[in-house]
């Protein structure tokens, strides 16, 4: 499964990559990482990922707008929002735009793996 990670924090990008690209997750291939929504759209168009982890609060273009644009390009893409914004309205807004899952920060390795498996299991 081809993965794109979108987050303005280098620490979080690195952490998600380490967890999801671990040897035990033998099916995940990291295509790229983006620091904001604009970079993400460019990488998304070039590489056609099947799974995207998406932060919400980012400079340039936020995660809700980015999710909407990605779904316009590929409605079948699995977008997992990974955000600290823990009000219900934000989660609902992202899901309405086409995200398929929502994981709150801070998260443990297990939380992320569980969310990933729930999203990608047939």
């Amino acid at each position: 499964m081809k993965l794109l990670i979108v987050d303005d924090s280098a620490l979080i990008r690195s952490r998600i990559a380490r967890i999801l690209c671990d040897k035990r997750m033998n099916d995940v291939q990291l295509l790229g990482m983006a620091r904001n929504g604009k970079e993400a759209i460019t990488l998304f168009t070039e590489h056609e990922p099947e799974l995207v982890t998406m932060d919400i609060t980012m400079p340039e273009m936020d995660g809700v707008e980015c999710t909407e644009k990605m779904i316009e390009i590929n409605p079948d893409c699995n977008i997992l929002v990974v955000s600290a914004l823990s009000d219900k309205a934000t989660a609902l807004k992202a899901l309405k735009k086409g995200a398929r899952g929502f994981l709150y920060k801070p998260f443990s390795d297990e939380d992320l793996i569980t969310a990933f498996l729930e999203l990608t299991s047939p």
């Binding site: 914004l85 823990s86 009000d87 920060k105």
Partner: protein, 157 residues
Amino acid sequence: MSAINEKDILIFVEAVSNFFFQITQEKVEIKTAYLLEDDVPSATFDLTSYITLSGGFTGRIYFSAPHSMLTHLLLVMGEQNRSDERLLDAAGEIANTISGNARKHFGETMEISVPTSQTTKSNWLKTVVSPRSYVILVKWKHYRASVVVDIQRAEQK
């Protein structure tokens, strides 16, 4: 403008405790006080990151910590890169997470910015915050850090 109260501060205390527990699986010791009015030791450490609020709130939420604590946290998180840049990024992510988690209580009208992170000298926070700012003093292992909550509800139109 209307001030937030001590009950509101508990939301931030919970967010800070939850952050450290989720990342380290350890409980932190926490004390709260007014930054400028109470006899608080310096709440400013080597690196400070803040989030600016807009929408239904104004002000800032700060997280300040020493290099040594952030380096240890990165180690716990399995992060190989422990450069100064990555430590600032970590401070920003903690400020962002605490602020974002608080929206569960304050709602989506509490709009939060991306973090601004910088190196800071002793007492810097006391020179930039308003008189009734709250400080949450955090002790994890032998390290100390602080979260300063300097926010107000904006007038409703």
